[in-house]
Amino acid sequence: MNGTPRATRRSGGHGHVATLVRSVPVRLVEISRGGCRLECPRRLESGTNGLLAVELAGLLRVDDIRVARCQQRPGAGSVFQIGAELLKTRRLGRRTIRIAVGDIISGTRASAYAPHPSETMSLGDGPQKEVNGRSDGRAPPLMSDRGS
């Protein structure tokens, strides 16, 4: 976490260290078992830790993430693409994003969760759609890869 040096503390009622919690709206656009790609209206520095909360299959899922990279999407104004790692800091429970992603990828979502009318999760034409497959590159996929 980006920390203010504790050396700046002063005695007395002021100068104490506190925690400022901000909520940054994001869009989850890509998933994998180890991470995800988000779109965000502001820059998040690499290495930033946070708690990602999204509604998947009618349930609010949360997981801790670490920002691996962040770059502005060309030609999209103030939209940043964020590559984030899903951290295994929480017990793997039903309300974790990792479980939801695992179910979606393995195709067991239908049996694991009741369909929800507002469900927005879809993987395209087939039951699964692999975007780029295995890749060691660092750049996010181009928009033409989105297929929509």
């Binding site: 976490m1 980006n2 920390g3 203010t4 040096p5 050396a7 700046t8 503390r9 009622g13 002021h14 100068g15 104490h16 260290v17 506190a18 925690t19 400022l20 919690v21 901000r22 909520s23 709206p25 994001v26 869009r27 989850l28 656009v29 890509e30 998933i31 994998s32 078992r33 180890g34 790609r37 988000l38 502001r42 520095e45 930033t48 830790n49 946070g50 990602l52 909360a53 999204v54 509604e55 998947l56 993430i65 691996a68 790692e85 979606i104 927005t120 999760m121 993987l123 759609k129 692999e130 975007v131 780029n132 295995r134 890749s135 060691d136 660092r138 996929p141 890869d145 297929g147 929509s148």
Partner: protein, 104 residues
């Protein structure tokens, strides 16, 4: 640039992106804590009118909900760029801030 641990798994594009949010925590230094205004020094800038919450650990992780009134950059003693945030406690936050001050 190390790339170990990246892109080990196939990636799947969502047909429709899913809205959500990320809660980011920053360690800040309290400059002043009042009923109507809280001033902190943060490593990150905030946008005016952004809703934030301030957790004050001295009082049992006491939380104050506030809105950012002003965000100005400043140079810290170590030369690093910080941001001076002026926060206005939201409804209920005023009493919370006062209670936090009393607990000190």
């Amino acid at each position: 640039m190390p790339t170990l641990g990246r892109r080990r798994h196939p990636r799947y594009l969502l047909h429709q992106p899913v809205e959500g949010n990320v809660r980011v925590r920053d360690e800040v230094t309290i400059v002043s804590l009042g009923d109507r205004e809280i001033v902190v020094v943060s490593p990150e800038a905030c946008r005016p009118d952004e809703n934030v919450s301030l957790e004050i650990p001295n009082s049992g992780r006491f939380r104050v909900n506030a809105k950012v009134a002003e965000s100005r950059p400043l140079v810290a003693e170590d030369g690093a760029i910080r941001h001076r945030l002026r926060l206005v406690p939201s409804s209920g936050g005023t009493e919370a801030a006062a209670a936090a001050e009393e607990r000190r």
